[in-house]
């Protein structure tokens, strides 16, 4: 029964566009975006929640997938070829940079990934050869398959985004249950012990890093199809930080928490941007609200949404309990 629940959920999500309330193109587009970020957050959690690696450079791989897809398509490559090349590039870059960054541990690793990703942001901003479009970003000018063009086909984009999320979750599930996945969680809990077992934490960490990079690049490809282009924000460190926020809000290391966090965060971000402008002072800034919520969540709801069933009752009971 439990085994089929996720698939049931996926089916419900797949059928959602047939509901009256959801089939407006604007709504579907937002939902598709939520699904893309759900997948991205889940992929990022492979590093953070499952391997214990705090990367501040995940945006780089997302941006590689996004920009290369746009650029290659605009240079006449068919979508599948462009997507494949984009993802492969993500893999290669992740392997190279990961190999260097993983030479240091803990917080230093975080800083180094941040620095590497900064190069991506710089290149995007510099607009070499007019490829990335600098501040303006790059839009897909040609090569879009007919099935993905036009308002009536928004639903296909939605399904594409859903498919991406499903792929990410299935990959993560597979990895989690494989022997390698168990090594990863052992690394997260205590890297030294893995070393003692004669396994090289480095190789497993690198594997996790590259796989997460590939999933992010794939996400970039799906993203540009949904949105129609790439913008410099995709390469910024802020994007990685928001991924981190999504994962922590959802529940790092849990099965569906990060995806839920990603979808919810994206949804709220857009809703707040639309409706909050009338609110007084800093409340009008979505990032202010979400940042504060995030800080509160770190303090009061460790484990995020995935563990809220445990943490919330704890808080509700607390006042009644006497100090021991």
């Amino acid at each position: 029964m439990r085994r089929w629940l996720p698939w049931g959920l996926a089916l419900v999500l797949a059928l959602l566009p047939f509901g009256q309330a959801f089939n407006a193109p604007g709504t579907l587009n937002l939902l598709a975006l939520c699904l893309v970020f759900a997948g991205l957050a889940a992929g990022y959690d492979l590093l953070f929640g499952r391997t214990g690696l705090l990367s501040f450079g995940h945006a780089l791989y997302f941006a590689i997938g996004a920009y290369l897809t746009v650029i290659l398509m605009n240079h006449g490559f068919a979508l599948p070829v462009a997507a494949l090349l984009a993802i492969l590039s993500g893999v290669v870059v992740a392997a190279l940079l990961g190999a260097v960054a993983l030479r240091v541990d803990g917080i230093a690793f975080s800083m180094v990934t941040l620095a590497f990703a900064q190069v991506g942001a710089i290149i995007v901003a510099r607009d070499p050869g007019g490829l990335t479009g600098g501040e303006e970003g790059a839009t897909i000018a040609k090569g879009m398959p007919d099935a993905l063009v036009g308002v009536v086909n928004t639903v296909n984009l939605y399904w594409l985004a859903l498919a991406y999320l499903v792929v990410v979750l299935v990959v993560l599930h597979r990895v989690g249950r494989s022997p390698a996945g168990r090594v990863l969680s052992a690394i997260r809990d205590d890297a030294r012990r893995v070393g003692v077992l004669g396994l090289s934490p480095y190789r497993y960490k690198l594997m996790s890093f590259v796989l997460a990079g590939a999933l992010a690049a794939l996400g970039g490809t799906v993203y540009v199809l949904v949105v129609g282009g790439a913008s410099p924000h995709l390469a910024s460190s802020d994007l990685t930080l928001t991924l981190l926020v999504m994962v922590v809000l959802g529940g790092p290391g849990s099965r569906f928490g990060p995806a839920l966090g990603g979808a919810l965060f994206t949804f709220l971000d857009y809703q707040l941007t639309d409706y909050a402008t009338d609110l007084p002072g800093p409340l009008a800034q979505p990032m202010f609200v979400l940042g504060v919520v995030f800080i509160l969540a770190v303090y009061f709801f460790p484990g995020g949404l995935a563990r809220i069933g445990v943490t919330l009752p704890g808080w509700l009971r607390r006042p009644a309990r006497q100090e021991a």
């Binding site: 260097v100 917080i107 800083m111 941040l114 900064q118 710089i122 901003a125 979505p286 202010f288 979400l290």
Partner: protein, 284 residues
């Protein structure tokens, strides 16, 4: 020749900013293991406080207001947000991440997202001839301020009891407590120092770039992180050397290799240092 001199002095000015941001970051990290993403916020708070205060007083005094605001912010952040999470390194990073996101948004809502013209003391407007190059005087203000802070920090670390505690704590925090010292007081102090230096950097960055915007802190912070890693965490002299190295490299390559190339070179330098000396220049 005059171009080279100009580039070098301008690079040193930039190095001064990097050093001011990185030294505090490095001490906070070295002592308390806190990777402080909110450090850029201290910088922005300092800059905006100076910008605000300059309406009522000379810029020089307004800078002091900015520094005070930076210190106050840093101390509050340490006491209220960081301290309750003592030893939970990841949660501490997360909280500072949240703080940096929320803080920038807060600044944006108060001061607007657009850059504001920053007040400059009149005496930095001129140019100073050096070896035939005409160097804007503000470069020397930056360099002088950083030198002053460097000397003050070195004296603090070398000659005061708390400096001794900080140096020992960077090496082995647990052992400091095992000698009967409450090391957490030193945490607060180091945050205060870092907040002061960052806020000063904020004002100086405002003077140097002639504007201030909510994002100023964040963009300097990334290069400050690089400086910290290259210099070796917890080492003030390491930060100084790395700041000079990074800023000069960036300045020269950006000029001769096209804008952005220098930034990329800096990251490449980071990779090289990591492969060669994973703990940074200061630690063999």
């Amino acid at each position: 020749m005059s171009t080279i001199v100009l580039l070098a002095v301008t690079g040193l000015g930039l190095a001064a900013l990097y050093f001011l941001v990185a030294s505090g970051l490095s001490l906070v990290f070295g002592l308390a293991d806190v990777l402080n993403f909110a450090h850029g916020l201290f910088l922005s708070v300092g800059a905006y406080a100076t910008w605000w205060a300059a309406d009522f007083m000379p810029v020089e005094a307004a800078v002091l207001v900015g520094v005070a605001a930076g210190v106050a912010t840093a101390v509050l952040v340490e006491l209220i947000l960081i301290r309750p999470l003592y030893r939970r390194t990841i949660e501490q990073v997360l909280v500072t991440v949240g703080l940096s996101l929320a803080g920038v948004a807060l600044l944006q809502s108060v001061f607007g997202a657009d850059p504001r013209p920053f007040p400059r003391p009149t005496w930095v407007e001129g140019v100073v001839p050096v070896f035939g190059a005409r160097i804007p005087a503000d470069r020397f203000l930056l360099i002088g301020a950083a030198l002053l802070v460097f000397v003050a920090l070195a004296a603090f670390l070398r000659y005061t009891r708390y400096g001794l505690i900080v140096r020992a704590g960077v090496e082995n925090r647990e052992m400091v407590t095992a000698l009967g010292i409450d090391v957490r007081k030193a945490f607060t102090l180091v945050f205060a120092i870092g907040g002061a230096a960052a806020a000063l950097a904020g004002s100086l960055a405002g003077i140097y770039f002639t504007t201030v915007s909510p994002g100023t802190g964040g963009s300097l912070l990334i290069f400050a992180f690089i400086v910290v890693v290259i210099g070796g965490m917890g080492s003030v002299p390491g930060s100084a050397v790395a700041a000079i190295l990074v800023a000069l490299l960036q300045q020269f390559v950006n000029y001769y290799g096209g804008s952005g190339a220098g930034d990329v070179c800096v990251v490449a330098l980071l990779a090289v240092v990591l492969l060669w000396r994973p703990k940074g220049l200061a630690k063999a």
